[in-house]
Amino acid sequence: MKVLSLYVENDTFIHKLEPITKLLYALISIVITFLFPSIMVGAVFVAFSLLLAISAKVFKRMLLLLNVVLIVLLSMVIIQGLFYRQNVTPAFKLWGLTFYKEGLLYSLLLIVRVVNMIISFGVLILTTRPSDLVDNLVQKGLSPRFGYVLASVLQIIPQMLSTTSTITDAQRSRGLETEGNLFQRFSAFFALLGPLVLNSLVEARERAMAIEIRGFSVEGKRTFVRQIPETKADRWIKISLYVAFIVAVVWRIILWVM
């Protein structure tokens, strides 16, 4: 693994959208699902985000992403179903345990929100080259220095982790105890992490020098070898997202005032 990224290369409509458009969709859909304590609103966004995932041909990958939180989501249903404080109406009994309607509905609300968050961000992550997202943000005004940090972190972490196996081997050959009791294993942790930290900091210093020498600190206008174009579709999607956001906020305020 050379780059820490879940990007799936393809040529769908979603892939061709400006990264910022997809980011905006993720953010606004998340905010809206949290503004309204409604399973329906959440479900609508989950369905729409799923549709996007399918049209971008990343549905299978999306399931893998969702798999990560599956157990927590299940435990949520159990714990809230059993112990939610507003539980009054029994829904069903399982192995002698009573599940309550209020708790189950509450856990369902939490689940649609989290699932939408994962799918909407998933669409962005799975269909966008990470460096394009960063370039796009920089072209829209993010500090290039900060952009560098975001872009480099994705490649430098795998680079660092690939050296861990070298360090582990070196320490093992010196008789390092990696099994054994808890204290021995903690010592081993130190012996493994210490050299990695030192080595990476030395390399970080060299990298800083190398990019300095290539004008990283030069102020003034920058150019981009990859210009991310904003299409007509992008513009329309963005406008509709802003409108949806404003409508949602206004509606929420009206509901709240009344």
């Binding site: 990224s5 879940l6 940090v149 972190v153 994705l154 430098i156 972490i157 861990t164």
Partner: protein, 222 residues
């Protein structure tokens, strides 16, 4: 002595964990990071800090340690370059983790920021000069992490943390009709307490072993 030798001998030094950790506690007092500008060296340090977090997590699970140990990089960057850099490292850590593994991690960026900021300020305030202070600092960091995480747990997970032991306690407290905030607080703190205190000790063990010239490179400009 080339750099490889230094690294290996440092690994050796670190092998005697106990001695090393206790050694950081006396001595001439820690270097204080004054931070006012994000130099290039500091910007390059941030990805490395995130990488150290990843490596910590990786080693901890490879050695079957019952903890996360995944905030050492954030803490180290805060000690080296100050609270702002600690905060940035923490935030980016969770953004990247969210982008690559687990989108839920995004919202816990706030917790990581809290860890970075608190360690940065504690280092500035010489709160790592002796064993007692370091322990106290560890407890403070754990408390900060918990206080920030609990509202996130409540909003996103109905109070759970996703950690088996913590959630078992949570379920137990909920069944005894304890309030959701209090239950969630205990859920989180049982996990954070040991983890953060250990991370703090490990961070300072490593920091003290770093050559001064290297430490100097990552210091914020005054």
């Amino acid at each position: 002595m080339n750099s490889y030798d230094i690294i290996i001998s440092m690994g050796h030094m670190c092998g005697q964990t106990k001695v090393k950790v206790l050694n950081i506690l006396d001595g001439e007092g820690l270097y204080m990071a004054k931070n006012s500008k994000l130099t290039t060296a500091i910007l390059v340090l941030i990805p490395v800090a995130v990488g150290i977090n990843y490596a910590g997590k990786l080693f901890a699970s490879a050695l079957k340690l019952p903890l996360w140990l995944d905030s050492i990089g954030t803490m180290l960057s805060a000690v080296l370059a100050g609270p702002i850099v600690g905060a940035i490292s923490g935030a980016i850590n969770n953004i990247i983790y969210g982008l690559t593994t687990d989108p839920v991690s995004f919202v816990y960026a706030l917790t990581s920021i809290g860890i970075g900021v608190s360690v940065g300020f504690l280092a500035k305030g010489k709160m790592f000069n002796n064993a007692f202070r370091t322990l106290l600092s560890g407890l403070i960091v754990a408390l900060v992490a918990t206080v920030i995480s609990v509202p996130i747990n409540v909003v996103f997970w109905g109070g759970q943390t996703g950690n088996v032991w913590g959630d078992a306690l949570f379920a137990f407290l909920q069944s005894k009709n304890v309030g959701i905030w209090v239950s969630s607080f205990f859920d989180e703190i049982v996990v954070d307490l040991v983890d953060k205190v250990l991370c703090v000790f490990i961070t300072f063990g490593i920091f003290k072993a770093l050559p001064k010239t290297l430490v100097y490179t990552f210091k914020g400009e005054e």
